[in-house]
Protein backbone atom coordinates (compact mmCIF):
# COMPACT_ATOMS: atom_id res chain seq x y z
CA UNK A 1 0.00 0.00 0.00
CA UNK A 2 2.82 2.31 0.94
CA UNK A 3 4.69 1.46 -2.27
CA UNK A 4 1.57 2.18 -4.33
CA UNK A 5 1.10 5.55 -2.69
CA UNK A 6 4.74 6.52 -3.26
CA UNK A 7 4.52 5.41 -6.90
CA UNK A 8 1.38 7.43 -7.48
CA UNK A 9 2.99 10.47 -5.89
CA UNK A 10 6.12 10.11 -8.00
CA UNK A 11 4.07 9.82 -11.16
CA UNK A 12 2.04 12.87 -10.29
CA UNK A 13 5.14 14.99 -9.60
CA UNK A 14 6.82 13.68 -12.75
CA UNK A 15 3.81 14.48 -14.87
CA UNK A 16 3.66 17.96 -13.43
CA UNK A 17 7.38 18.54 -14.10
CA UNK A 18 7.12 17.24 -17.67
CA UNK A 19 3.92 18.85 -18.73
CA UNK A 20 3.83 22.02 -16.80
CA UNK A 21 6.45 23.87 -18.91
CA UNK A 22 4.79 22.52 -22.01
CA UNK A 23 1.45 23.74 -20.80
CA UNK A 24 2.83 27.19 -20.01
CA UNK A 25 4.44 27.38 -23.41
CA UNK A 26 1.11 26.62 -25.01
CA UNK A 27 -0.62 29.56 -23.32
CA UNK A 28 -1.78 31.76 -26.17
CA UNK A 29 -0.42 35.30 -26.20
CA UNK A 30 -2.75 37.80 -24.58
CA UNK A 31 -4.96 39.49 -27.10
CA UNK A 32 -5.24 43.25 -26.88
CA UNK A 33 -8.09 44.31 -24.62
CA UNK A 34 -11.18 45.39 -26.44
CA UNK A 35 -11.91 49.09 -26.33
CA UNK A 36 -14.17 49.84 -23.35
CA UNK A 37 -17.79 50.02 -24.33
CA UNK A 38 -19.42 53.20 -23.11
CA UNK A 39 -22.32 52.69 -20.76
CA UNK A 40 -25.51 54.12 -22.14
CA UNK A 41 -28.73 55.22 -20.53
CA UNK A 42 -30.27 52.03 -21.96
CA UNK A 43 -27.78 49.88 -19.99
CA UNK A 44 -28.63 51.71 -16.80
CA UNK A 45 -32.35 51.61 -17.42
CA UNK A 46 -32.10 47.88 -18.13
CA UNK A 47 -30.40 47.05 -14.82
CA UNK A 48 -32.30 44.22 -13.15
CA UNK A 49 -34.70 45.23 -10.43
CA UNK A 50 -36.50 42.67 -8.26
CA UNK A 51 -40.16 42.38 -9.14
CA UNK A 52 -42.87 43.57 -6.80
CA UNK A 53 -43.96 39.97 -6.26
CA UNK A 54 -40.45 38.95 -5.26
CA UNK A 55 -40.12 41.88 -2.88
CA UNK A 56 -43.51 41.12 -1.37
CA UNK A 57 -42.08 37.85 -0.05
CA UNK A 58 -39.63 39.73 2.14
CA UNK A 59 -35.83 39.96 2.04
CA UNK A 60 -34.38 38.06 4.98
CA UNK A 61 -30.75 38.15 3.75
CA UNK A 62 -30.79 41.71 2.41
CA UNK A 63 -29.91 40.77 -1.17
CA UNK A 64 -32.96 42.46 -2.70
CA UNK A 65 -32.91 45.71 -0.75
CA UNK A 66 -30.95 48.63 -2.16
CA UNK A 67 -30.90 48.06 -5.92
CA UNK A 68 -31.18 50.06 -9.12
CA UNK A 69 -34.82 50.53 -8.24
CA UNK A 70 -33.81 52.73 -5.30
CA UNK A 71 -31.97 55.30 -7.41
CA UNK A 72 -33.83 58.59 -7.57
CA UNK A 73 -35.09 59.16 -11.13
CA UNK A 74 -35.50 62.69 -12.48
CA UNK A 75 -37.70 61.76 -15.44
CA UNK A 76 -39.92 58.70 -15.01
CA UNK A 77 -40.59 58.52 -18.74
CA UNK A 78 -36.88 58.06 -19.52
CA UNK A 79 -36.25 55.80 -16.55
CA UNK A 80 -32.88 55.71 -14.81
CA UNK A 81 -30.15 57.54 -16.72
CA UNK A 82 -26.38 57.83 -16.26
CA UNK A 83 -27.00 61.33 -14.92
CA UNK A 84 -29.28 59.88 -12.24
CA UNK A 85 -26.62 57.31 -11.41
CA UNK A 86 -23.84 59.85 -11.05
CA UNK A 87 -26.03 62.15 -8.96
CA UNK A 88 -26.83 59.23 -6.69
CA UNK A 89 -23.11 58.51 -6.22
CA UNK A 90 -22.53 62.14 -5.28
CA UNK A 91 -25.46 62.18 -2.92
CA UNK A 92 -24.29 58.94 -1.30
CA UNK A 93 -20.86 60.46 -0.67
CA UNK A 94 -22.35 63.54 0.96
CA UNK A 95 -24.86 61.42 2.89
CA UNK A 96 -22.00 59.35 4.33
CA UNK A 97 -20.25 62.55 5.37
CA UNK A 98 -23.43 64.06 6.83
CA UNK A 99 -24.10 60.94 8.90
CA UNK A 100 -20.47 60.73 10.03
CA UNK A 101 -20.32 64.38 11.05
CA UNK A 102 -23.70 64.30 12.81
CA UNK A 103 -23.03 61.08 14.73
CA UNK A 104 -19.60 62.25 15.86
CA UNK A 105 -21.21 65.54 16.84
CA UNK A 106 -23.70 63.61 18.96
CA UNK A 107 -20.76 61.90 20.70
CA UNK A 108 -19.19 65.29 21.45
CA UNK A 109 -22.51 66.52 22.83
CA UNK A 110 -22.49 63.60 25.27
CA UNK A 111 -19.13 64.82 26.59
CA UNK A 112 -21.14 67.47 28.45
CA UNK A 113 -22.33 64.67 30.74
CA UNK A 114 -18.73 63.61 31.30
CA UNK A 115 -17.62 67.13 32.17
CA UNK A 116 -20.61 67.56 34.48
CA UNK A 117 -19.86 64.55 36.63
CA UNK A 118 -16.08 65.00 36.59
CA UNK A 119 -16.45 68.55 37.89
CA UNK A 120 -19.20 67.73 40.36
CA UNK A 121 -17.31 64.73 41.70
CA UNK A 122 -14.18 66.81 42.21
CA UNK A 123 -16.13 69.44 44.18
CA UNK A 124 -17.67 69.09 47.62
CA UNK A 125 -21.11 67.56 48.13
CA UNK A 126 -22.49 70.88 49.40
CA UNK A 127 -22.02 72.39 45.92
CA UNK A 128 -23.29 69.45 43.83
CA UNK A 129 -26.50 71.05 42.58
CA UNK A 130 -24.74 74.32 41.72
CA UNK A 131 -21.89 72.62 39.83
CA UNK A 132 -24.25 70.31 37.93
CA UNK A 133 -26.55 73.20 37.01
CA UNK A 134 -23.65 75.23 35.61
CA UNK A 135 -22.60 72.28 33.48
CA UNK A 136 -26.19 71.63 32.45
CA UNK A 137 -27.11 75.17 31.51
CA UNK A 138 -23.83 76.05 29.84
CA UNK A 139 -25.20 73.89 27.05
CA UNK A 140 -28.35 75.99 26.67
CA UNK A 141 -26.81 79.41 27.30
CA UNK A 142 -23.87 78.74 24.98
CA UNK A 143 -26.08 77.34 22.24
CA UNK A 144 -28.40 80.34 22.36
CA UNK A 145 -25.48 82.77 22.02
CA UNK A 146 -23.90 80.71 19.26
CA UNK A 147 -27.14 80.45 17.30
CA UNK A 148 -27.81 84.17 17.59
CA UNK A 149 -24.39 85.45 16.52
CA UNK A 150 -21.48 83.12 17.38
CA UNK A 151 -21.81 80.78 14.42
CA UNK A 152 -21.97 83.71 11.99
CA UNK A 153 -18.79 85.21 13.45
CA UNK A 154 -16.98 81.87 13.33
CA UNK A 155 -18.14 80.31 10.09
CA UNK A 156 -19.94 83.06 8.18
CA UNK A 157 -17.04 83.43 5.77
CA UNK A 158 -15.55 79.94 5.68
CA UNK A 159 -16.49 79.40 2.03
CA UNK A 160 -17.17 75.98 0.56
CA UNK A 161 -16.79 72.98 2.87
CA UNK A 162 -16.33 70.36 0.15
CA UNK A 163 -16.93 67.31 2.35
CA UNK A 164 -20.42 68.56 3.14
CA UNK A 165 -21.23 69.30 -0.49
CA UNK A 166 -20.20 72.92 -0.29
CA UNK A 167 -21.64 75.59 1.96
CA UNK A 168 -21.91 78.50 -0.49
CA UNK A 169 -24.05 80.73 1.75
CA UNK A 170 -21.13 81.00 4.22
CA UNK A 171 -19.21 83.32 1.95
CA UNK A 172 -18.75 86.71 3.65
CA UNK A 173 -15.58 87.19 5.71
CA UNK A 174 -14.70 90.64 7.00
CA UNK A 175 -11.11 91.25 5.88
CA UNK A 176 -8.58 93.94 6.80
CA UNK A 177 -5.13 94.46 5.30
CA UNK A 178 -2.03 94.00 7.45
CA UNK A 179 1.50 94.14 5.99
CA UNK A 180 -0.17 94.22 2.57
CA UNK A 181 -1.92 90.88 3.13
CA UNK A 182 -5.59 90.09 3.69
CA UNK A 183 -6.41 89.26 7.32
CA UNK A 184 -9.77 87.56 7.84
CA UNK A 185 -11.23 88.85 11.10
CA UNK A 186 -14.83 87.58 11.39
CA UNK A 187 -17.60 85.99 9.36
CA UNK A 188 -20.76 87.86 8.47
CA UNK A 189 -23.34 85.35 7.23
CA UNK A 190 -25.48 82.96 9.25
CA UNK A 191 -27.20 84.96 11.99
CA UNK A 192 -30.06 82.85 13.43
CA UNK A 193 -29.24 80.21 10.76
CA UNK A 194 -31.54 81.89 8.24
CA UNK A 195 -29.57 85.01 7.38
CA UNK A 196 -28.42 85.28 3.73
CA UNK A 197 -29.42 81.81 2.58
CA UNK A 198 -27.96 79.87 5.49
CA UNK A 199 -31.15 77.83 5.94
CA UNK A 200 -29.26 75.07 4.14
CA UNK A 201 -28.81 71.34 4.86
CA UNK A 202 -25.00 71.45 4.87
CA UNK A 203 -24.91 74.58 7.02
CA UNK A 204 -27.14 72.80 9.56
CA UNK A 205 -24.70 69.88 9.82
CA UNK A 206 -21.77 72.25 10.20
CA UNK A 207 -23.63 74.26 12.85
CA UNK A 208 -24.39 71.21 14.97
CA UNK A 209 -20.81 69.97 14.86
CA UNK A 210 -19.28 73.36 15.60
CA UNK A 211 -21.85 74.14 18.29
CA UNK A 212 -20.94 71.12 20.44
CA UNK A 213 -17.26 72.07 20.14
CA UNK A 214 -18.02 75.59 21.33
CA UNK A 215 -19.97 74.20 24.30
CA UNK A 216 -16.99 72.05 25.27
CA UNK A 217 -14.85 75.19 25.54
CA UNK A 218 -17.46 76.91 27.70
CA UNK A 219 -17.85 74.08 30.16
CA UNK A 220 -14.10 74.08 30.90
CA UNK A 221 -14.47 77.42 32.68
CA UNK A 222 -17.14 76.24 35.11
CA UNK A 223 -14.67 73.78 36.65
CA UNK A 224 -12.02 76.39 37.47
CA UNK A 225 -14.56 78.76 39.04
CA UNK A 226 -16.58 76.08 40.83
CA UNK A 227 -17.72 76.36 44.43
CA UNK A 228 -17.65 80.18 44.52
CA UNK A 229 -19.02 81.52 41.21
CA UNK A 230 -22.23 83.53 41.33
CA UNK A 231 -24.77 81.81 39.08
CA UNK A 232 -25.94 85.04 37.40
CA UNK A 233 -22.34 85.94 36.55
CA UNK A 234 -21.85 82.46 35.11
CA UNK A 235 -24.82 82.93 32.76
CA UNK A 236 -23.60 86.29 31.44
CA UNK A 237 -19.98 85.15 31.15
CA UNK A 238 -20.92 81.98 29.27
CA UNK A 239 -23.17 83.95 26.92
CA UNK A 240 -20.36 86.36 26.01
CA UNK A 241 -17.90 83.53 25.50
CA UNK A 242 -20.30 81.63 23.21
CA UNK A 243 -21.22 84.77 21.31
CA UNK A 244 -17.85 86.46 20.85
CA UNK A 245 -14.66 85.10 22.48
CA UNK A 246 -14.79 81.53 21.22
CA UNK A 247 -16.17 82.30 17.74
CA UNK A 248 -13.55 84.97 17.11
CA UNK A 249 -10.56 82.70 17.68
CA UNK A 250 -12.34 79.80 15.96
CA UNK A 251 -12.82 82.03 12.91
CA UNK A 252 -9.13 82.88 12.84
CA UNK A 253 -8.18 79.20 12.99
CA UNK A 254 -11.02 77.37 11.21
CA UNK A 255 -13.31 79.91 9.59
CA UNK A 256 -10.95 81.32 6.96
CA UNK A 257 -9.38 83.87 9.32
CA UNK A 258 -5.84 85.24 9.43
CA UNK A 259 -4.20 82.47 11.48
CA UNK A 260 -5.18 79.83 8.93
CA UNK A 261 -3.75 82.08 6.19
CA UNK A 262 -0.25 82.36 7.69
CA UNK A 263 0.92 79.77 5.17
CA UNK A 264 -0.48 81.41 2.06
CA UNK A 265 0.33 84.96 3.17
CA UNK A 266 3.66 84.58 4.99
CA UNK A 267 4.98 81.19 3.89
CA UNK A 268 4.72 79.78 7.41
CA UNK A 269 4.18 76.06 6.72
CA UNK A 270 0.52 75.30 6.12
CA UNK A 271 -0.59 78.15 8.38
CA UNK A 272 -1.81 77.66 11.92
CA UNK A 273 -2.98 74.05 11.98
CA UNK A 274 -5.25 72.76 14.71
CA UNK A 275 -6.97 69.62 13.51
CA UNK A 276 -9.67 69.25 16.16
CA UNK A 277 -9.14 72.07 18.61
CA UNK A 278 -6.38 71.77 21.24
CA UNK A 279 -6.12 75.51 20.78
CA UNK A 280 -9.53 76.50 19.45
CA UNK A 281 -11.53 74.57 22.04
CA UNK A 282 -9.32 73.59 24.97
CA UNK A 283 -6.83 76.43 25.22
CA UNK A 284 -9.58 79.02 24.69
CA UNK A 285 -11.44 77.39 27.59
CA UNK A 286 -8.25 77.04 29.61
CA UNK A 287 -7.02 80.64 29.33
CA UNK A 288 -10.53 81.93 30.06
CA UNK A 289 -10.60 79.65 33.11
CA UNK A 290 -7.29 81.15 34.23
CA UNK A 291 -8.56 84.72 33.79
CA UNK A 292 -11.66 83.98 35.83
CA UNK A 293 -9.97 81.93 38.56
CA UNK A 294 -7.42 84.71 39.12
CA UNK A 295 -10.14 87.33 39.30
CA UNK A 296 -12.56 85.40 41.47
CA UNK A 297 -9.92 84.29 43.99
CA UNK A 298 -9.45 81.01 45.86
CA UNK A 299 -12.08 79.21 47.90
CA UNK A 300 -12.18 79.98 51.60
CA UNK A 301 -9.79 77.64 53.35
CA UNK A 302 -7.74 76.81 50.27
CA UNK A 303 -4.69 78.79 51.41
CA UNK A 304 -3.34 79.57 54.86
CA UNK A 305 -1.92 82.98 55.72
CA UNK A 306 1.56 81.62 55.07
CA UNK A 307 0.50 80.75 51.54
CA UNK A 308 0.48 77.03 52.22
CA UNK A 309 -2.02 75.26 50.01
CA UNK A 310 -4.60 72.93 51.56
CA UNK A 311 -6.10 70.08 49.59
CA UNK A 312 -9.89 70.30 49.36
CA UNK A 313 -10.91 66.77 48.61
CA UNK A 314 -13.23 65.49 45.91
CA UNK A 315 -16.53 64.16 47.24
CA UNK A 316 -16.95 61.27 44.78
CA UNK A 317 -13.96 59.82 42.96
CA UNK A 318 -16.19 57.11 41.46
CA UNK A 319 -18.12 59.57 39.31
CA UNK A 320 -14.93 61.48 38.53
CA UNK A 321 -13.32 58.47 36.86
CA UNK A 322 -16.62 57.44 35.25
CA UNK A 323 -16.81 60.94 33.78
CA UNK A 324 -13.25 60.61 32.46
CA UNK A 325 -14.31 57.45 30.62
CA UNK A 326 -17.34 59.22 29.15
CA UNK A 327 -15.05 62.01 27.97
CA UNK A 328 -12.60 59.53 26.42
CA UNK A 329 -15.55 57.93 24.60
CA UNK A 330 -16.76 61.31 23.38
CA UNK A 331 -13.28 62.14 22.11
CA UNK A 332 -13.81 59.56 19.37
CA UNK A 333 -16.30 62.07 18.04
CA UNK A 334 -14.10 65.07 18.69
CA UNK A 335 -11.03 64.06 16.70
CA UNK A 336 -12.10 61.62 13.97
CA UNK A 337 -15.24 63.69 13.40
CA UNK A 338 -13.12 66.70 12.53
CA UNK A 339 -12.49 65.23 9.09
CA UNK A 340 -16.12 66.32 8.50
CA UNK A 341 -16.53 63.18 6.44
CA UNK A 342 -15.57 59.56 5.96
CA UNK A 343 -15.89 59.59 2.17
CA UNK A 344 -13.47 62.27 1.08
CA UNK A 345 -9.82 62.98 0.37
CA UNK A 346 -8.07 61.67 3.46
CA UNK A 347 -11.38 60.67 5.00
CA UNK A 348 -10.14 57.16 5.59
CA UNK A 349 -7.61 58.54 8.05
CA UNK A 350 -10.45 58.42 10.58
CA UNK A 351 -8.99 55.08 11.66
CA UNK A 352 -5.53 56.44 12.41
CA UNK A 353 -7.00 59.57 14.03
CA UNK A 354 -9.09 57.40 16.36
CA UNK A 355 -6.10 55.23 17.24
CA UNK A 356 -3.90 58.29 17.82
CA UNK A 357 -6.59 59.60 20.16
CA UNK A 358 -6.83 56.47 22.27
CA UNK A 359 -3.03 56.01 22.40
CA UNK A 360 -2.39 59.57 23.59
CA UNK A 361 -5.09 59.24 26.26
CA UNK A 362 -3.54 56.02 27.49
CA UNK A 363 -0.05 57.55 27.52
CA UNK A 364 -1.34 60.60 29.39
CA UNK A 365 -2.91 58.51 32.15
CA UNK A 366 0.32 56.49 32.45
CA UNK A 367 2.47 59.60 32.58
CA UNK A 368 0.38 61.18 35.33
CA UNK A 369 0.04 57.97 37.33
CA UNK A 370 3.80 57.31 37.28
CA UNK A 371 4.63 60.93 38.11
CA UNK A 372 2.32 60.94 41.13
CA UNK A 373 3.43 57.50 42.23
CA UNK A 374 7.12 58.42 42.13
CA UNK A 375 6.65 61.87 43.69
CA UNK A 376 4.00 61.16 46.35
CA UNK A 377 4.24 57.37 46.73
CA UNK A 378 0.63 56.82 45.63
CA UNK A 379 -0.92 56.62 42.15
CA UNK A 380 -3.39 59.46 42.71
CA UNK A 381 -6.77 58.67 41.13
CA UNK A 382 -7.94 62.18 40.29
CA UNK A 383 -4.59 63.13 38.75
CA UNK A 384 -4.52 59.90 36.75
CA UNK A 385 -7.94 60.85 35.41
CA UNK A 386 -6.63 64.32 34.62
CA UNK A 387 -3.65 62.68 32.91
CA UNK A 388 -6.01 60.80 30.59
CA UNK A 389 -7.80 64.05 29.76
CA UNK A 390 -4.49 65.91 29.32
CA UNK A 391 -3.32 63.31 26.79
CA UNK A 392 -6.61 63.62 24.93
CA UNK A 393 -6.47 67.42 24.97
CA UNK A 394 -2.90 67.44 23.70
CA UNK A 395 -3.55 65.03 20.82
CA UNK A 396 -6.60 66.97 19.64
CA UNK A 397 -4.65 69.42 17.44
CA UNK A 398 -2.12 66.94 16.03
CA UNK A 399 -4.42 63.89 15.81
CA UNK A 400 -4.86 64.25 12.05
CA UNK A 401 -1.20 64.94 11.30
CA UNK A 402 0.91 62.56 13.40
CA UNK A 403 1.68 58.84 13.59
CA UNK A 404 1.09 56.49 16.55
CA UNK A 405 4.62 56.90 17.97
CA UNK A 406 4.26 60.68 17.94
CA UNK A 407 0.87 60.31 19.62
CA UNK A 408 2.27 58.28 22.50
CA UNK A 409 5.13 60.76 23.05
CA UNK A 410 2.71 63.71 22.97
CA UNK A 411 0.36 61.97 25.40
CA UNK A 412 3.13 60.92 27.78
CA UNK A 413 4.52 64.44 27.98
CA UNK A 414 0.97 65.76 28.53
CA UNK A 415 0.45 63.37 31.45
CA UNK A 416 3.55 64.63 33.25
CA UNK A 417 2.95 68.24 32.20
CA UNK A 418 -0.52 68.33 33.74
CA UNK A 419 0.88 67.31 37.15
CA UNK A 420 3.66 69.91 37.04
CA UNK A 421 1.22 72.57 35.84
CA UNK A 422 -1.29 71.81 38.60
CA UNK A 423 1.49 72.23 41.18
CA UNK A 424 2.64 75.50 39.56
CA UNK A 425 -0.84 77.02 39.36
CA UNK A 426 -1.64 75.97 42.91
CA UNK A 427 1.61 76.57 44.77
CA UNK A 428 3.41 79.27 42.80
CA UNK A 429 0.55 81.31 41.33
CA UNK A 430 -1.80 80.61 44.26
CA UNK A 431 -4.68 80.33 41.79
CA UNK A 432 -7.36 77.94 43.02
CA UNK A 433 -8.59 75.59 40.29
CA UNK A 434 -10.76 72.90 41.95
CA UNK A 435 -10.72 70.53 38.98
CA UNK A 436 -7.38 71.29 37.32
CA UNK A 437 -9.07 72.76 34.23
CA UNK A 438 -6.37 75.39 33.63
CA UNK A 439 -3.68 72.70 33.49
CA UNK A 440 -5.66 70.01 31.67
CA UNK A 441 -7.13 72.27 28.99
CA UNK A 442 -5.00 75.41 29.04
CA UNK A 443 -1.45 74.12 29.47
CA UNK A 444 -2.02 70.95 27.47
CA UNK A 445 -4.10 72.71 24.85
CA UNK A 446 -1.06 74.92 24.20
CA UNK A 447 1.22 71.88 24.24
CA UNK A 448 -1.01 70.20 21.66
CA UNK A 449 -0.83 73.23 19.37
CA UNK A 450 2.97 73.33 19.71
CA UNK A 451 3.33 69.60 19.09
CA UNK A 452 1.89 69.96 15.58
CA UNK A 453 4.92 72.08 14.69
CA UNK A 454 7.21 69.33 16.00
CA UNK A 455 5.61 65.93 15.33
CA UNK A 456 3.46 66.32 12.18
CA UNK A 457 4.89 63.61 9.93
CA UNK A 458 3.94 64.96 6.51
CA UNK A 459 2.00 61.81 5.61
CA UNK A 460 -1.51 63.14 5.96
CA UNK A 461 -3.20 64.03 2.71
CA UNK A 462 -6.53 65.77 2.83
CA UNK A 463 -6.86 66.58 -0.85
CA UNK A 464 -3.28 67.57 -1.55
CA UNK A 465 -3.24 70.75 0.51
CA UNK A 466 -4.03 72.22 3.93
CA UNK A 467 -5.21 75.77 4.55
CA UNK A 468 -4.71 76.46 0.86
CA UNK A 469 -1.03 75.46 0.80
CA UNK A 470 0.03 72.44 -1.25
CA UNK A 471 1.43 69.44 0.61
CA UNK A 472 0.86 67.92 4.04
CA UNK A 473 1.40 69.53 7.44
CA UNK A 474 5.00 68.76 8.46
CA UNK A 475 6.75 69.47 11.74
CA UNK A 476 10.32 70.30 12.65
CA UNK A 477 11.23 66.68 13.46
CA UNK A 478 10.14 65.56 10.00
CA UNK A 479 12.11 68.05 7.94
CA UNK A 480 10.16 71.31 8.06
CA UNK A 481 12.19 74.54 7.99
CA UNK A 482 10.59 75.85 11.17
CA UNK A 483 7.83 77.80 9.44
CA UNK A 484 5.10 75.49 10.78
CA UNK A 485 6.49 75.83 14.30
CA UNK A 486 6.39 79.63 14.03
CA UNK A 487 2.78 79.48 12.80
CA UNK A 488 1.84 77.33 15.79
CA UNK A 489 3.65 79.67 18.19
CA UNK A 490 1.82 82.69 16.77
CA UNK A 491 -1.40 80.78 17.50
CA UNK A 492 -0.20 80.17 21.07
CA UNK A 493 0.63 83.85 21.67
CA UNK A 494 -2.76 84.79 20.23
CA UNK A 495 -4.38 82.52 22.81
CA UNK A 496 -2.26 83.74 25.72
CA UNK A 497 -2.07 87.40 24.73
CA UNK A 498 -5.34 88.14 22.96
CA UNK A 499 -7.95 85.54 23.99
CA UNK A 500 -6.89 85.74 27.65
CA UNK A 501 -7.14 89.54 27.57
CA UNK A 502 -10.53 89.54 25.88
CA UNK A 503 -11.89 87.02 28.39
CA UNK A 504 -10.37 88.95 31.26
CA UNK A 505 -11.93 92.24 30.18
CA UNK A 506 -15.37 90.68 29.65
CA UNK A 507 -15.27 89.10 33.09
CA UNK A 508 -13.94 92.27 34.68
CA UNK A 509 -16.98 94.12 33.32
CA UNK A 510 -19.27 91.41 34.72
CA UNK A 511 -17.48 91.69 38.06
CA UNK A 512 -18.18 95.41 38.17
CA UNK A 513 -21.78 94.97 37.01
CA UNK A 514 -23.11 92.04 39.05
CA UNK A 515 -20.11 90.67 40.96
CA UNK A 516 -18.43 87.36 40.18
CA UNK A 517 -18.13 85.87 43.64
CA UNK A 518 -20.80 84.70 46.06
CA UNK A 519 -20.93 85.98 49.63
CA UNK A 520 -18.64 84.24 52.12
CA UNK A 521 -21.65 83.00 54.10
CA UNK A 522 -23.08 81.28 51.01
CA UNK A 523 -19.73 79.74 50.20
CA UNK A 524 -19.36 78.32 53.69
CA UNK A 525 -22.88 76.90 53.69
CA UNK A 526 -22.48 75.49 50.22
CA UNK A 527 -23.96 77.08 47.09
CA UNK A 528 -26.82 74.65 46.60
CA UNK A 529 -29.35 76.43 48.82
CA UNK A 530 -28.26 80.09 48.48
CA UNK A 531 -27.76 80.00 44.71
CA UNK A 532 -30.01 77.18 43.46
CA UNK A 533 -32.67 76.87 46.15
CA UNK A 534 -32.28 73.11 46.60
CA UNK A 535 -29.64 70.72 47.85
CA UNK A 536 -27.98 68.28 45.50
CA UNK A 537 -28.08 65.58 48.17
CA UNK A 538 -30.91 66.49 50.55
CA UNK A 539 -30.47 63.37 52.67
CA UNK A 540 -26.83 64.16 53.47
CA UNK A 541 -26.09 66.00 56.66
CA UNK A 542 -23.97 68.91 55.44
CA UNK A 543 -22.06 71.11 57.83
CA UNK A 544 -20.81 74.62 57.17
CA UNK A 545 -17.07 75.08 57.46
CA UNK A 546 -15.71 77.40 60.08
Amino acid sequence: MKIATKTLLALTIGAFCCFAPFSFAQTPPATPAAAPKPITDADVAGAPVPSADTRAKGDPDGALTGTAGDIAVTDTKKGTTIGDLVNQVGQNKIAINFVWTLVTGFLVMFMQAGFAIVETGLCRAKNANHTMMMNFMVYGVGMLAYWLIGFAIQMGGVGAVANLGGTPPLSAEHVITVFGKPFGIFGQNGLFLVHRGTYDVAVMVLFLFQMVFMDTALTIVTGAAAERWKYAAFVISSFLMGAITYPLFANWAWGGGWLSSLGTNFNLGKGYSDFAGSGVVHAVGGVTALALAMMIGPRIGKYERSGKSNAILAHDIVIVLTGCFILAFGWFGFNPGSTLGASSNGGLRIGSIAVNTMLAGMAGSFGAMLYMWLRYNKPDASMTGNGLLAGLVAITAPSGFVNPVGSVIIGLIAGVLVCISVEFVDRVMHVDDPVGAISVHGTNGLWGVLSVGLFADGKSNYGGSWNGVNGAVTGLFYGDNGGQLVAQLIGIVTLVGFVFTLSFVFNLLIDWAVGQRVAAKSELEGLDLPEMGALGYPEFELKAEI
Binding site: F266, L268, E304, V493, F500
Partner: protein, 61 residues
Protein backbone atom coordinates in the same frame (compact mmCIF):
# COMPACT_ATOMS: atom_id res chain seq x y z
CA UNK B 1 -4.19 100.55 38.06
CA UNK B 2 -1.96 97.46 38.14
CA UNK B 3 -4.76 95.50 36.51
CA UNK B 4 -4.89 97.94 33.62
CA UNK B 5 -1.09 97.76 33.25
CA UNK B 6 -1.28 93.96 33.33
CA UNK B 7 -3.93 93.92 30.61
CA UNK B 8 -1.86 96.20 28.39
CA UNK B 9 1.34 94.18 28.87
CA UNK B 10 -0.47 90.91 28.15
CA UNK B 11 -2.01 92.32 24.99
CA UNK B 12 1.30 93.84 23.87
CA UNK B 13 2.83 90.35 23.78
CA UNK B 14 0.24 89.44 21.16
CA UNK B 15 0.99 92.61 19.19
CA UNK B 16 4.72 91.81 19.24
CA UNK B 17 4.07 88.33 17.84
CA UNK B 18 1.94 89.75 15.01
CA UNK B 19 4.70 92.26 14.23
CA UNK B 20 7.05 89.30 13.66
CA UNK B 21 5.21 88.73 10.40
CA UNK B 22 6.91 91.81 8.98
CA UNK B 23 10.23 89.93 9.12
CA UNK B 24 11.42 87.56 6.40
CA UNK B 25 13.56 84.99 8.19
CA UNK B 26 11.87 82.22 10.13
CA UNK B 27 14.62 82.34 12.76
CA UNK B 28 14.02 86.02 13.42
CA UNK B 29 10.26 85.47 13.48
CA UNK B 30 10.71 82.63 15.97
CA UNK B 31 12.77 84.85 18.28
CA UNK B 32 10.23 87.70 18.16
CA UNK B 33 7.25 85.39 18.70
CA UNK B 34 8.95 83.80 21.73
CA UNK B 35 9.62 87.31 23.04
CA UNK B 36 5.93 88.11 22.58
CA UNK B 37 4.97 84.96 24.49
CA UNK B 38 7.30 85.88 27.33
CA UNK B 39 5.83 89.38 27.53
CA UNK B 40 2.25 88.05 27.63
CA UNK B 41 3.12 85.48 30.31
CA UNK B 42 4.82 88.21 32.35
CA UNK B 43 1.69 90.33 32.04
CA UNK B 44 -0.46 87.47 33.35
CA UNK B 45 1.75 85.89 36.00
CA UNK B 46 3.99 88.79 36.97
CA UNK B 47 1.53 91.69 36.93
CA UNK B 48 -2.14 90.67 36.86
CA UNK B 49 -1.89 87.72 39.21
CA UNK B 50 0.36 89.62 41.57
CA UNK B 51 -2.15 92.48 41.66
CA UNK B 52 -4.91 90.07 42.72
CA UNK B 53 -2.70 88.26 45.23
CA UNK B 54 -1.94 91.56 46.95
CA UNK B 55 -5.52 91.69 48.21
CA UNK B 56 -6.16 87.94 48.46
CA UNK B 57 -8.67 86.93 51.12
CA UNK B 58 -6.33 84.34 52.61
CA UNK B 59 -3.73 87.02 53.35
CA UNK B 60 -6.27 88.90 55.44
CA UNK B 61 -7.54 85.86 57.37
Amino acid sequence: MMILVGILITLSGFVISVLSLALNSNGARLAVVVLGLAVSLFGIIGVLNRAYLKNAIWKKG
